[in-house]
């Protein structure tokens, strides 16, 4: 097994562990408290399905959110993004996964046939 394949296996293990150990338990809890995390159904009584944006323009500060040096920084960004919502508790673990799955060279030119949803 090459080092790339080994890393890939390690990544999958880390993500699977997170999926089973944290994400799905949270999903169960949220399903009870927040039924319908998505608006997945049609509503024949709705006049419009448009969602009004609360923030209509981008400020200078909005551009300056990138530049993660490590997983901990990404975790902090997620925690801010999820401030007050149930996902916030996941941020730390996701930061650790990010460090584990980080790939230095993007060497695959393959595009998934499932491009829209994967990323």
């Amino acid at each position: 097994m090459s080092s790339t394949e080994e890393n890939s296996v390690k990544s999958h293990v880390a993500i699977d562990r997170f999926f089973d150990g944290e994400l799905m338990p949270l999903a169960s809890r949220l399903r009870a408290s927040e039924p319908g995390l998505f608006l997945t159904t049609v509503d024949p009584s709705a006049e419009s399905y448009y969602i009004k944006r609360t923030k209509r323009t981008m400020s200078k500060a909005d551009f300056e959110v990138a530049g993660c040096v490590d997983g901990a920084e990404f975790a902090r960004r997620l925690a801010v993004h999820w401030n007050g919502c149930g996902c916030q508790s996941l941020a730390l673990s996701i930061g650790k996964i990010a460090d584990a799955v980080r790939v230095e060279e993007h060497d695959s030119a393959d595009v998934s046939p499932f491009v829209y949803v994967m990323f």
């Binding site: 993500i15 608006l39 509503d43 024949p44 448009y50 030119a109 829209y116």
Partner: protein, 615 residues
Amino acid sequence: MSTIILGISAFYHDSAAALVRDGEIVAAAQEERFSRKKHDPRFPINAINYCLEEAFIEAVDLDAIVFYDNPVATFDRVLRNALSVGPAAREQFQKAASAVLGHKIWLDSHVKRALGTLGKAGRVLVAEHHMTHAASAFFPSPFESAAILTMDGVGEWATTSLGAGKDNSIELFSEIHYPHSLGLLYSAITSYCGFKVNSGEYKLMGLAPYGEPKYADLIMEKLIDVRPDGSYRLHTENFGYLDGMSMTNERFHAVFGGPPRQPESRISRREMDIAASVQAVTEEVVLRTASHLRKETGERNLVMAGGVALNCVANGKLEAAKIFDHVWIQPAAGDAGGALGAALMGYHVYEGKPRAAPVAGRDRQKGSLLGPRYPSNEVRAYLDRNRLPYQRIVDTDERMKVVAKAISEGRIIGWCCGRMEFGPRALGARSILGDPRNKDTQSVMNLKIKYRESFRPFAPSVLAERTSEYFQIDCDSPYMLLVAPVRTERCLPMDMVKFRGGDDDMLSVINQPRSDLPAITHVDYSARIQSVTKEDNQDYYALIKAFEDLTGCGLVVNTSFNVRGEPIVCTPKDAYRCFMRTEMDLLVLEDCLVWRKDQPKFDDDENWRASYELD
């Protein structure tokens, strides 16, 4: 002191780079053209290097580097999707999390490693995905203010955004969010009909005129609910992309009464009718949305971007409906164009720099000829080094006469002249050309040159001043983004009895001449028009003019210079290789004419039919 901004799109599909100096678009190119890998999603190092070369600058000179998508917001969607779906989302989450966490969030690191610097800003800036689409549509447009409509598969959360642009500001006020997406509906049906998602949508659009919209009501009932203002939601339980690794699921298949068509298998009446149906639904959504947007903004002008804006049939209907006085569509409407939008957002919104007043009627897209050019000396160096015979004709008029004569004699021409196009359409810089009057041109070009399905039509490049003589359209279409009817008096009656009677054989229709321009007239008597002006492309205009002088016909057939599944050619070497792999007769590389009959035996070092995956 100039302000120079680099825009990047990457790690999704169609990676690209664009460079803007003082608000002027200096260069833009898609990575696939250099790497020769269709839809290449990798960090666009080759495209970036080209942009820097074109601007004669080093990376340290960049005032800012702007990425076209916010990775935090994208990951938020990925995670919430899994939370919503539950255990069935495992495989999808694993792949999506690996992709975002493995690559996309480490932008600074990717840029620093590739360029050795983060530019003067010292960090990579991030713009919202649909903001970059909006910027790519509004800032290069010829309008001082305009309504903005962006529609795609998904970017972060948004799938459709409505807004307005004025001077140097962009405002988006309404959205439709994932999982509801017109782009994903179109892609799901593309997949169901046996074509590849993200590249086969164009085929579905080309197939639609063969069918009847018999399933349109069913789609409106079972797959999408559209409100009078154009807003919509999908019946997501009938789609596969929320909880699986395919666009459709068994319930989706049941809607159409059977399994999906297998890729490369025979296309049946059912696929033709489904294609016609989703096309009709798409047009309905676009028209309703545009009407709503006109009322909301009061604007007379509309600009559009996002992958759905490449649906030139819907665009043509929108233009003809005159909901807006003028419509301008970004030619690189897909994600590659996000790089351009990111650069323009960086300049006008982040830096707060003003937008120059539009020059009457002219956009700032420069004909979308924003890629590399290989001048005559470089072409000759390549040909001489490889001992390839060629005829050099320096005088432009004389050269155009020779090429025009070859076209008029039924020859197929590979044309690689000037700066390469930015966007998926060939606009007369990397094009294959033929005679539109010849009834054999369509089948020869499809089967012997492009090696693609015979049902797919070709587009005309027409002298702008003669457009209305051939087509029922009253505006320019410089980027081949509008479909319009061929003038009635040019059309010929077709015998559709057998086909309409249930015979699925499209060849019985394809092989009938449909007008006095059979090669560019689709089966519904429409054409996908490119109007050509001297200002946008002097050489290409001169060629069509020479063809007109010789034949009286002011247009040529124009299709992209590639074979099926291959990125459009970029360099003279790419062009020569593609030329020799096909049955083209003449290759024009700037002022050098390369005749097939003079060429030595071509030893192909690559099994290109295997290399270029079918779409």
